[in-house]
Symmetry: C2
DNA sequence: TTTGATGCAAAGACTTTGCATGCTT
DNA sequence: AAGCATGCAAAGTCTTTGCATCAAA
């Protein structure tokens, strides 16, 4: 993503445009590996403070720029995801791996859920839905049975 | 749930039947409030160690007896859920509240998802699904607390 | 008897925060 | 110039672990 567009993304959400924020967002958007804070920090290799990575991701989350996946890392740390389109995750709690379900398969599932049902839930609970998350937990197997 | 049935639940999963485990499981099964470890610990009021609450819930999770909802508490702590039927949660990250979507509405959503689609995902990723989670994030807009 | 469960405190991991400084607006 | 962003280290919170003791199988 070019800087111009990226900066517009920031300003449109009331975030200041800084070099570090561009760096972090780009790093996150460039992968589907759902890095943890520490993985991002390692990757950026001393170019910024660990606290900045935390704070920046927090800002991104609050403004809806990225999604946080709590407790998915190896020791219960959070993973982050810059993909904003609705998509599913396959999570293996044993290994701490989180993998995106391919778009086509994710979309097929999301499309099954009628808007009316979600609206019914909103009404019933007095809740405004920001995001629908469909995550699978289970285990990755080498041999593909089934 | 009577002790006999509860003990069978434990033994069938390879867990020893102890007084503390019965207490914790009952406390969790008796509420839909998705308590945190600390909330359970407070409620049990000195009748057992905090570490035991952690360890016990960990055992329950590993054997599929309860579900962990990471990062849902006020300071990022985990919440726990003894309901094993597929059901949805409405999560408000600002307040840390997690509310069950009523069974009927949850079920309607889950029933929209064809088994074949989940199986296709399993095959595609080499993943064995244990649990499908559909959680809504957003905000509670009324003072309602279902 | 053997193995797992519990209690306690200490250690560990992740995350947030206070404050001084620098940079964006 | 004002206000947010950053760096650093310290503090905070949640969770796990080591080890001795106790209970279930």
């Amino acid at each position: 993503m070019i800087t111009e567009t990226l900066d517009h993304l920031f300003t449109s959400r009331g975030l200041r445009c800084t070099s570090h924020r561009r760096t972090i967002y780009r790093a996150l958007a460039a992968t589907t590996a759902h890095p943890t804070v520490d993985e991002l920090y390692q990757q950026l290799d001393g170019r910024m403070s660990l606290a900045t990575v935390y704070n920046t991701l927090e800002s991104f989350c609050k403004t809806g720029l990225v999604r946080k996946i709590p407790g998915s890392g190896e020791n219960g740390s959070a993973r982050y995801d810059a993909t904003t389109d609705p998509h599913m995750h396959a999570c293996d709690p044993m290994s701490g791996r989180v993998v995106d379900v391919p778009d086509e398969l994710s979309r097929a599932v999301f499309e099954q859920i009628p808007k009316e049902q979600l609206e019914a839930i909103e009404k019933c609970l007095g809740f405004r839905i920001h995001d629908v998350r469909i995550d699978l937990t289970g285990e990755f197997v080498s041999a593909r049975n089934n």
